[in-house]
Symmetry: C2
Subunit: 193 residues, 2 copies
Amino acid sequence: MQELIEAIEKLGSAAGSDVVKVDMFLNHRLDTTLLFKMGEELAGTFREEKPDLVLTVEASGIALALTTAHALGDIPVVFAKKSQTVVQSRDVIQASVYSFTHKCTNMIRVDRRYLPQGSRVLIVDDFLADGQAALGMMSLCTQAQCPVVGIGIGVEKGFQEGGKKLREAGMNLYSLAVVDRIEDGRIVLRREN
Amino acid sequence: MQELIEAIEKLGSAAGSDVVKVDMFLNHRLDTTLLFKMGEELAGTFREEKPDLVLTVEASGIALALTTAHALGDIPVVFAKKSQTVVQSRDVIQASVYSFTHKCTNMIRVDRRYLPQGSRVLIVDDFLADGQAALGMMSLCTQAQCPVVGIGIGVEKGFQEGGKKLREAGMNLYSLAVVDRIEDGRIVLRREN
């Protein structure tokens, strides 16, 4: 998606050999205009799959999930939670997710009522790296007996394994931008996406 | 705001004497249509204050912040973070916030670049209880030398101290719905809001 690619080239930065920083517009400060365009693009890609709801994981997936759900005709969003709150329901589905960014394992949890059996789920997240979050959300959907009709991603780190794993598993995965590699401290985007 | 009041009456529930659960439409599952209407209402309330950006705190404030920012003409959103990631900038502003829900103290952090000095900030959050999160965000703005032009809230728990404290401090606070009390396990909304 051209606007996202331009934002990454203009405002993104690399750290070390594998960290892609897009804090400025995607996951700390949000470029509202861009987020809505990204949501429209994901909605256009997955509209024919007729999703009933968008599933994401807190926190930075929420914005793109919401704009995608809006462009799909205001379908609901469900965001999996990482923390066990004192107001937790008793009927909770959970999956474990290792975060390479935070270097720890989180459980992600969804109240079962919000993934009604048979719902057609579109998974959306801002980032795809090793695919741990997406696999965790797929596990939640399997437990809830909900088909995953697609996975829509903002930025895929093409040099990590997530995209490959998900495509090989037959998932309908679409990423708005794919980082091919980090070269001399510079982000190189994949053009043939 | 009538649609929100109806959603709370229909889908909200109380736990104990002080927990208001709106998981079904506001902070776990998101009613996308309602979130956009809430954003329009907050935008209408604060438009004349000419905010430059919306500040919220992850995770459940993000959706309402984004729809408010959209209705204000797609101004940016900045969300304060609760966790120290490995990709943290060095120039970070922070404030401590006690969460009555999670029964712990969190630091909230914002990269100073995303609160440029002099920016007119509209603080938005899904909930207002004891006001700790709002006070933490106000502290971030003070440190960044940004005026807070208003505070827009989804659901205020009117029987806790946050609203009173902020209004007495002279803040321009508007809550879309105010829970007056929990009575016999039932949520009673304040009508004169």
